[in-house]
Symmetry: C2
Subunit: 363 residues, 2 copies
């Protein structure tokens, strides 16, 4: 069979990115393909700090294309120029209408408190005077309706005449959650191949008010859904949540690699459930210790903060009033404000560029 560009692209779609569950085509790494009879030239953009990745990819691509009939394969690996965050927030208007900056909160593993961090981060950013939206894109188990007391969201959610989702308001935040659309009356059936498309529509089809920043609560992991999401909106920065346990930080490292591969700037890691304090004053480390620091070191990202593991954080979440509001002087709230300050700084959300309301702040 004659090799064609289409056949080569198809073959490349069988090459997984080392350590992730996605292939290099889906990840958007293939920059160009040229075919001259049985010789193939492929160029890829690589954004990784892992030294083993280029070699593994070269070997896997060469083997797969040989199998497809290529006699000679040349592979060119390009390093993308890191794009600095644009200084004029209005220049980005075309990307996601209404939101000047987008920060994604991701995790490698479920149950590490990703949604709790996303919700409290959104509130901490709002507290500093920004107009903030929250997109709960966790299709596997949307938690935001419970965490923000929007359990009636499915009944209240509505669309504009031109089929845009209208956000609900909770504690001053503009909120949209997959949970509003997964109820018993859901018109959408999430069949496998449809997921990618649904996710894109969901993330782009919202009538956001003018926002300084949109916080996106991504699903955990590095599968199709987080990938489609991270690709369907241009994300200005990512925060990865982990617990101190090794099992969680191993998975978080994969999420960091996913963001790198997608060229999403990494703001840093938040270590959640770092320590608990008994009424007797004793500190314990129920999920072990050191996972966040070790992850920061091995993956070369900043450790933004270590959040305490408090019974009240869980009950605040179950009750719909996040700790940031219910206990603004709690250890969690103080730590979260510091994390929000870093996020604002990295995303250049301080100063006059943002809405007039941003004058105050505590950064």
């Amino acid at each position: 069979m004659m090799l064609t560009e289409a056949l080569v692209r198809e073959a490349l779609a069988d090459v997984p990115y080392p350590g992730l569950r996605s292939d290099i085509v889906k990840l958007g790494l293939v920059r160009s393909i040229a075919v001259h009879n049985d010789r193939v030239h492929v160029s890829l953009t690589l954004s990784t700090e892992r030294e083993d990745v280029p070699g593994l990819l070269r070997d896997a691509i060469t083997a797969r294309l040989a199998q497809a009939g290529a006699v000679r394969t040349e592979i060119q690996l390009l390093t993308p120029e890191r794009k600095p965050v644009e200084r004029d927030p209005w220049a980005r208007q075309g990307r996601l209408p209404g939101a000047r900056r987008i920060v994604a909160v991701g995790a490698g593993k479920g149950g590490v408190g990703k949604s709790t961090v996303a919700v409290n981060l959104a509130l901490a950013l709002q507290e500093s005077g920004l107009k903030v939206g929250l997109l709960d894109a966790d299709i596997y188990g949307p938690s935001v309706p419970v965490l923000l007391g929007l359990e009636d969201g499915a009944a209240r959610a509505r669309m504009t005449d031109d089929k845009q989702i209208v956000p609900l308001e909770a504690h001053g935040l503009s909120v949209v959650s997959f949970g509003f659309f997964l109820g018993a009356e859901s018109p959408a059936v999430w069949r496998g191949p449809m997921v990618g498309k649904a996710v894109t529509q969901f993330s782009r089809g919202v009538a956001w008010p003018d926002l300084d920043v949109l916080v996106v609560d991504l699903p955990p992991g590095t599968g199709d859904v987080p990938l489609s999401l991270a690709q369907s909106v241009v994300v200005d920065g990512a925060v990865v949540v982990t617990t101190p346990q090794r099992l969680a930080s191993l998975e978080a490292a994969k999420a960091i690699e996913m963001f790198r591969t997608l060229e999403v700037p990494l703001i840093g890691v938040v270590e959640n459930m770092s320590h608990a304090t008994c009424a007797c004053g004793r500190r314990s480390h129920p999920f072990g210790r050191g996972g966040g620091e070790a992850l920061g070191r091995t993956s070369n990202v900043s450790l933004l903060g270590q959040l305490p593991f408090e019974e009240e954080v869980v009950s605040d979440g179950d009750g719909g009033v996040p700790s940031m509001l219910r206990a603004p002087r709690s250890e969690l709230a103080v730590a979260m404000r510091a994390i929000a300050a870093t996020v604002r700084e990295v995303l250049q959300l301080d100063g006059s560029a943002v809405g007039a309301a941003a004058a105050g702040g505590c950064g």
Copy 2:
């Protein structure tokens, strides 16, 4: 357009099961379809304890078929006869070669300790004299390689000549994990539509030795993967893991409904991370309290046990020697033995029917 059985089936595939992310066709609920011109007769099997489900399904099906052109739709809801667990274990041989009983461990939400429960349950069952296998089918984040010290599993895993996966051994258990096949060298790319097929191959294509019981660690949630898995092997019983927090038990209720819909007998609920004990002796409930009991009550299943939240359980997991072995007198090990005794009883794994080694036991 003329209505045909195929068109009706296609339309029914747009009807989600209330509260789950799967449709009624994929769930295997559609028993028969008959079409006479523009009149349609549909019969469904329903296994649910939720009173709202029949009405919601009737309405959704009628609306969808009207849209497809049906003038009149008759819907017949059948209640399946509960099949008692067969008394002769050998009668089931044809289903999954080698395993006499299969117990699935599921969860609604990630991070509740599902894999920790699966691993320790497998060891507790083994301790009572059974030959036990463990299938880690959590494609989203397989934890078993770390929990059982099989991190070199990817390098060691091999296939028989007829392409069957050969289980590895850890602490006496026969173990296969998706984690063995998701590494950098993975030949498989998990593209959306392929997942269902891969999952079936994975779960059926293992050369298990003769096992009394196979414990399957399912992925969390009620999406495509847990569904395909639960459908590809006939499961004799399911255990659902939750934490006490409301957010987790809400998701666990959906997993219970999924097992009911699939006619998998529910053995019960395990509440993990129920309470912590400080060195000062004080007991705390970091994830709140009562979620497991409330879930048992509202979903009408037994609460099999409440497991403590101990720092050592996490470090044992990170270290590859589960608490069941490292600390056989710990609160977790004692509670786990009681849970295993119930599982054995429900699955009729006590007595002479099972392997000769089963003489001891503590049930």
